[in-house]
Amino acid sequence: MPVLSILFALFVMGIFLTVFFMEPGRGIRFALSRTLEAYGEMLSWPFGNLYGFYETLNKMIPLAFVGLGLCIAYRMRIWNIGGEGQLYMGAFAATWGALFLFNDLQSPLLMACLVISMGAVFGAIWGLIPAVMKAFAKTDEIVVTLMLNYVAIFWVDYLVYGRWRDPAGFGFPLTAEYPAAARLPRIFDGNVQIGLVFVVVLAVFLEYVYRRTSWGQKSALIGDNIQAAIYAGVNIKLFTILALLASGAIAGAGGAVQMMGAQHRLQPGFSPGYGYTAIIIAWLGKLNPIGVVVVAILFGGLLVGNEQLQMFYRVPIALVYVFQGLVLFSLLGGEAISRYRIRFHKRGDE
């Protein structure tokens, strides 16, 4: 079913592309062949070529980080839409640490620990605000986390356009580059940032948490029926706060890793909406850590493929969003339809 869904999305997208490639004076056949050619490029590079696949993995890392963080909250039906803001706060804190607080530090290991922790702490703070409001004032967390996204983005804007702007940056809104000690090592001959390892470790760790620990058991209780959880003696306020804290901390750490591993400097719009895409990834991964990583690879590949299109076919970036939206809806639709089918099937059986 997922394969069918993606084929369907590709088909609809094909219509968009064909229209885009239409040129006056040339027939539809030309546009169609361009479309097919473009598809070939878009799919073969990120998934069929080793170096393309490395790129896919790199793109997947921030998506997976935020997505894994969101799972923690979503499993308890706490709707953290603030992944983007938490990612930005993590990136901000990492930059603060790497450039201003610990810039004299020589040990890469100590640097990494300190800077990633800073990212996690600030991401966690961004999760704590809606958590406390939800736990003590019953405020809707969806709206609060949404609003905080913008606060974080504008905060980063303020810094890179103003106080932190690199004097040697030719007036571009960028901070200075991180010192060498604040850059994470890379793996696969330097092709993939080490964040990949963190993601895999984190996913495995979360799988274990959900399968074998009492945290996992309690969060399942909360997620399924909050009344039953209160009845079983679970401290809902505490869990709400912890879940959003953890959720924000992981996204924040993701921001820090992205800075230290890939970007090496803070710049506005460093995230093309990773935080929002991650919401969808978490959902499509059925809130299973391993599932999230798999879906994140798919979406990372989509991003890479679309970059190819932008470069070689001068397709506008907006097309990425269209395509993401299409893939999403067809995956969601496919899932919903197969759910119905199973239900009918069951009914038929008995």
């Binding site: 620990t213 009492s214 399942a220 029926n225």
Partner: protein, 504 residues
């Protein structure tokens, strides 16, 4: 005037209604009698257009009709009061009454509606303030609104699904008076019930259902309670569980001057004090909505009291969290089975061990759960409590009501609690499951647990309780000994007529 012919309806796994035929004459009260799960409600839901029958046909005044939706049913002059009331909380009584009606103008004029509601209320003795918001009404008032809603549409067929379950004796009498008046006005009533006394009081004819099959339709005058009971259950009625007298021990559960608010911030429990001793069952009789839920939740620790204290075994637990109370040996069988007692999408096993993190009845480390231990123990519980389930990994929501309750009992009672709070533990269960609940609770008593039983059904209280206290408007209004001769007196206290009780 109405005929249902060979109606059948299946749900996954069950044949809910199996070729049932049913004839309703005009101006009669026709009772559908049967145990829970016999198919009474399903049959009527088909008539009211909520379900579509798999086969069979419906005729009104000799004409074939297809009832595809409640709207359709209303158009055919059929109205139904469900067990779960369907009122819009923020709407007034008048607004609820006219919601969705075709006759309504674009700008509804509630003045006329209100006058008509008052008229109807006067005619049938169903008084209610048409201007009150639905969320402020009591359960009895809500039911009256539901009936008025139907009368307002001028329906000729009124279906009432277990209407007396939420009423006190004198409210039931008022309802029956109203039904008789409707009969005079040529309205037909389908009365769904499993309470034989009431059935004999109000019915003209009775159709008995058992396991989805129609056993027979009889004239009330030509039958007896015993005969009906036999038809309904297929064997003789509930054997009277002998009440074993147990030597009562020390004070286990003690409540002093408890005052608790409900979700709306209104006082629900008002200065209640009582004690339950080891080996004793204290019954609290009352109509639903008189503070029982808040009282139980407060003792168990889910709701903070404004005032007062709760003790278990002499220890003050007023400020103790639920987890600790569970560890101290407090068990709670909540009234809202699917909404609170279980997590419907989790497995039977997960539900059986939802509190294991606190009780450690199967030792399990918080960072590495003891999977094999839990599975073994849950298989044993499934066997011991004869829970019927495909496997212990099945989602709890796929179990029948009786088996869900057994899961709850297994979890709450297998750890030999010191005190048990049981709120409406047999609501909606069939006779077999009911017997099981009685037996298990009495076993607890024999083991020396203090049992607090909150119930509305007097028969249940008489069968189980050693003492009965009556709750009304959040207060304990008196005590009585659990004796059938006290039925009328307890009923009066439950309805708020004060000063009828003994002091205990």
């Amino acid at each position: 005037m109405l005929e249902m012919k060979d109606i059948a309806k299946s749900f996954p796994g069950v044949k809910a209604v199996d070729d049932v035929s049913f004839v309703l004459k005009s101006g009669e009260v026709h009772t559908l009698l049967g145990e829970n799960g016999a198919g009474k409600t399903t049959l009527m839901n088909i008539l009211f257009g909520i379900y579509r029958q798999d086969s069979g046909e419906i005729l009104i005044d000799g004409k074939h009709v297809k009832i595809s939706s409640p709207h359709n049913a209303i158009a055919h002059g059929i109205g139904m009061v469900q067990q779960h009331f369907t009122l819009v909380p923020s709407f007034t009584v008048a607004e609820n009454t006219v919601l969705g009606l075709r006759e309504l103008g674009v700008f509804p004029r509630t003045g006329r509606v209100e006058r008509r509601i008052r008229e109807l209320g006067d005619t049938y003795g169903l008084k209610v303030d048409p201007d009150a918001r639905a969320w402020t009404l009591s359960v009895g008032e809500k039911q009256r609104v539901e009936i008025l809603k139907i009368l307002y549409t001028g329906a000729k067929i009124l279906i009432l699904d277990e209407p007396t379950a939420v009423l006190v004796p004198h409210e039931t009498r008022a309802l029956f008076d109203a039904l008789r008046k409707m009969k005079e006005a040529d309205t037909s009533v389908v009365f769904i019930s499993h309470k034989l006394d009431e059935v004999m009081q109000i019915s003209d004819r009775i159709t008995v259902l058992r396991k989805g099959l129609a056993v027979d339709t009889v004239d009330k005058k030509a039958t007896t309670k015993a005969a009906l009971a036999k038809m309904m259950v297929g064997r003789d009625l509930l054997v009277d569980v002998p009440r074993t007298d147990v030597e009562t021990g020390s004070k286990i559960l003690e409540v002093k001057n408890l005052r608790v608010n409900d979700d709306r911030g209104l006082t629900a429990v008002n200065d209640i004090s009582f004690t339950v001793r080891a080996g004793e069952v204290l019954g609290i009789a009352g109509v639903e909505g008189n503070g029982q839920r808040e009282l139980a939740e407060c003792i168990y620790g889910m709701r903070k009291p404004l005032n007062g204290k709760v003790f278990i075994d002499g220890q003050d637990i007023t400020r103790t969290p639920v987890r600790k109370r569970v560890q101290l040996g407090l068990s709670f069988i909540p009234q809202d089975r699917k909404g609170m007692a279980i997590s419907p999408n989790l497995s039977v096993e997960e539900n059986l061990f939802a509190k294991n993190y606190a009780t450690q009845s199967v030792p399990s480390h918080p960072l590495l759960s003891n999977r094999t231990g839990v599975s073994t123990a849950s298989r044993k519980l499934v066997r011991d409590f004869s829970i019927v389930t495909p496997s212990e990994k099945t989602r709890a929501k796929y179990l029948s009501g009786g088996n869900i309750q057994k899961v709850v009992l297994a979890r709450e009672l297998s750890s030999s609690p010191k005190a048990v709070i049981a709120a409406q533990p047999t609501r909606g269960l069939d006779v077999g499951a009911m017997e099981f609940v009685y037996k298990t609770l009495l076993e607890q008593k024999k083991k020396g647990a203090a049992v607090l039983l909150l119930a509305g059904d007097l028969d249940e209280l008489f069968r189980l309780a050693d003492r009965v206290a009556v709750i009304y408007g959040g207060k304990l209004v008196g005590y009585a000994s659990p004796d059938s001769s006290n039925r009328e007196k307890i009923g009066l206290m439950m309805s708020g007529a004060s000063g009828a009780g003994d002091e205990a």
